[in-house]
């Protein structure tokens, strides 16, 4: 069996932030992480552990203080336009319709008008937004805005890595499940790589092939665990899938130690 090739790599990555008072603090310590082509990886960890910072480094929005970030073997030194980036807020342009927002990424990549329109219509239809193309973001529900925001990155087929920073965080529980299900359907079979930051263990298990668990701050990779549950998965009944509780307990054990450690540090 040929070894899976790596798409994204963090090698020996450190990040030091200087606070307002001028005092430097280590946010990431020696992060080593390899993302393989075509896999769905979730990053979980205690809040403030730097998992979003790692994601921002893959997007080229944050540079490491030491170490290297590689995409397809090339060091990322500037904004990485070869990835799609879905933020926690939906970040749609309020003066553009759903259609206009989906077309945005294609405009930036200079895709022709007719093709742009056709692809945007197609993708909006895939997430059940047919007929809502001409609505403005404020006329859409939170879940619909999130769908537009996800589709906006997926529609650009020059991008084979999608980074997602707690995209379903602000949504209500039911909408979250529905969107997790839709995301899996959109992703399955495309061969695209997804790196997904979340603090919800169940969500991580339902979605991913592997889960990277971060230590508390200064963050590093504590453990990477495989999720071997068969696909396609039923996110609505994921906790009834055989093997679910084993992986859940393992991750929760890893995390609990870190959360307690973080709490002790804060208390000291």
């Amino acid at each position: 069996m040929a070894p899976a090739t790596s798409v994204l790599e963090a090698r020996n990555v450190y990040k030091v932030f200087v606070a307002r008072g001028g005092k430097a603090r280590t946010a990431l310590r020696n992060v080593e992480l390899t993302i393989r082509r075509g896999e769905f990886v979730c990053l979980v960890g205690p809040s403030g552990c730097g998992k979003s910072t790692v994601l921002n480094m893959f997007a080229g929005l944050v540079t490491p203080s030491d170490g290297t970030i590689l995409h397809d073997g090339r060091t990322i030194t500037d904004v990485n336009t070869h990835v799609g980036y879905v933020t926690q807020d939906d970040n749609l342009l309020p003066w553009r319709t759903a259609l206009g927002n989906v077309e945005l990424a294609l405009e930036c990549k200079s895709v022709g008008r007719a093709e742009r329109r056709e692809r945007a219509f197609d993708y909006l239809a895939r997430v059940g937004l047919k007929g809502n193309e001409e609505l403005y973001p404020h006329e859409l529900s939170g879940g619909m805005r999130k769908r537009v925001s996800i589709v906006r990155t997926l529609v650009d087929d020059s991008v084979d890595v999608i980074l997602m920073d707690e995209p379903f965080g602000p949504l209500d529980a039911q909408t979250r499940l529905i969107l997790q299900d839709e995301l899996l359907r959109l992703w399955q079979g495309t061969g695209r790589t997804i790196v997904f930051v979340t603090h919800d263990i169940v969500e991580a298990i339902a979605l991913s092939d592997r889960i990277a668990i971060f230590t508390s701050v200064p963050g590093s990779i504590k453990q990477v665990r495989d999720v071997t549950l068969p696909r396609p998965r039923d996110v609505f009944h994921i906790h009834e899938t055989p093997g679910f509780s084993t992986i859940y307990d393992a991750i929760w054990n890893d995390l609990r130690e870190e959360i307690l450690k973080g709490r002790d540090d804060a208390g000291a």
């Binding site: 997007a59 080229g60 929005l61 904004v79 990485n80 336009t81 990835v83 799609g84 980036y85 933020t87 807020d89 970040n91 342009l93 309020p94 003066w95 553009r96 319709t97 945005l104 990424a105 405009e107 930036c108 990549k109 403005y136 404020h138 006329e139 650009d156």
Partner: protein, 290 residues
């Protein structure tokens, strides 16, 4: 039997609900019309009250020479419109004001863009801009006349100077208010610097720019009028100064009335453009889709 009663009940419920909807819709329409009517009539009452007070006070409480009276003002206004005096003066003032306004807005926005392109540019020139902004431009009017002559140019520059700084600062504030996350998202999409500016930064700042444009509209007029006060032989400012020197108070007020009407028209124009640009905003979309 119960099996037959079921649909009957559903139907009755449906009809009841429909009548409720119709009743509430009608009620909402009537309430809205009533409110509009009330606001318009109250406006008329306030205006009428002020004019009435003016009419009564003039010649009784205050000397007619100082305040004239509404009827004389309107008479003077109509007379000057008919014999063409008003248009002759208005034309000149409007030209100065409009040119000054366009110049001020253009230069203000352009300066803000240039300063934003230079790293720390905004901070570097901030004390300078604030300093020049603080100078009462009106006090410079005689000097500006000396520099730029007595014709169109000094008045245009005075008008522009009362527009430029507010537009500049407001545009900069608009640029600064663009969401960092949005900028990051769009940069990752591969937007060039110019695409980022045209697709994100300028539209984000548009409400700030339009607010400044509406606030500075009367400022442009003030600039033109001050210029005419200092030195001119034409324009509404000249008309007012001339009438005033001859104690023709009615004519002074008629001149002011013509300016007032003009500013109202211009304001409506700017609002129209603003509404077109902001047609995506929640309140506008509601109105357009209803």
């Amino acid at each position: 039997m119960p099996a037959r009663e079921q649909p009957m009940q559903v139907n009755a419920g449906w009809a009841h609900e429909q009548s409720l909807l119709v009743r509430e819709e009608r009620h909402a329409t009537v309430t809205r019309r009533y409110e509009t009517l009330r606001i318009f009539s109250l406006r008329a009452v306030v205006m009428g009250g002020i004019l009435g007070l003016w009419w009564t006070a003039s010649g009784t409480l205050i000397d007619r020479l100082f305040v004239s009276d509404p009827i004389s003002v309107v008479t003077s206004f109509v007379q000057m419109s008919l014999d063409g005096t008003l248009w002759w003066h208005l034309e000149s003032t409007l030209l100065e004001m409009t040119l000054g306004y366009i110049l001020g807005v253009t230069v203000g926005v352009a300066l803000a863009i240039i300063v934003t392109l230079i790293p720390w540019g905004g901070q570097i020139v901030r004390p300078l801009m604030l300093g020049v902004f603080a100078i009462p431009k009106v006090a410079l009017a005689p000097l500006i006349i000396v520099w730029f002559g007595i014709h169109l140019l000094p008045k245009v520059i005075l008008a522009a100077s009362l527009v430029l700084f507010i537009v500049y600062f407001s545009t900069l504030a608009g640029f600064a208010a663009v969401s960092r996350d949005l900028i990051a998202s769009i940069r990752v999409m591969g937007a060039s610097r110019s695409a980022l500016f045209i697709k994100l930064i300028l539209p984000s700042a548009a409400p700030y720019i339009f607010a400044a444009m509406r606030i500075t509209l009367p400022g442009a007029l003030i600039g033109a009028i001050i210029g005419e006060f200092v030195s001119s032989n034409r324009g509404v400012g000249f008309l007012i100064a001339y009438a005033s020197s001859r104690y023709n108070t009615a004519q002074v007020f008629a001149g002011i009335l013509s300016l007032l009407i003009f500013v109202l028209i211009l304001n409506t124009l700017v609002s129209r453009v603003e509404k077109y640009i902001a047609r995506w905003r929640p309140d506008q979309v509601q109105r357009n889709r209803n």
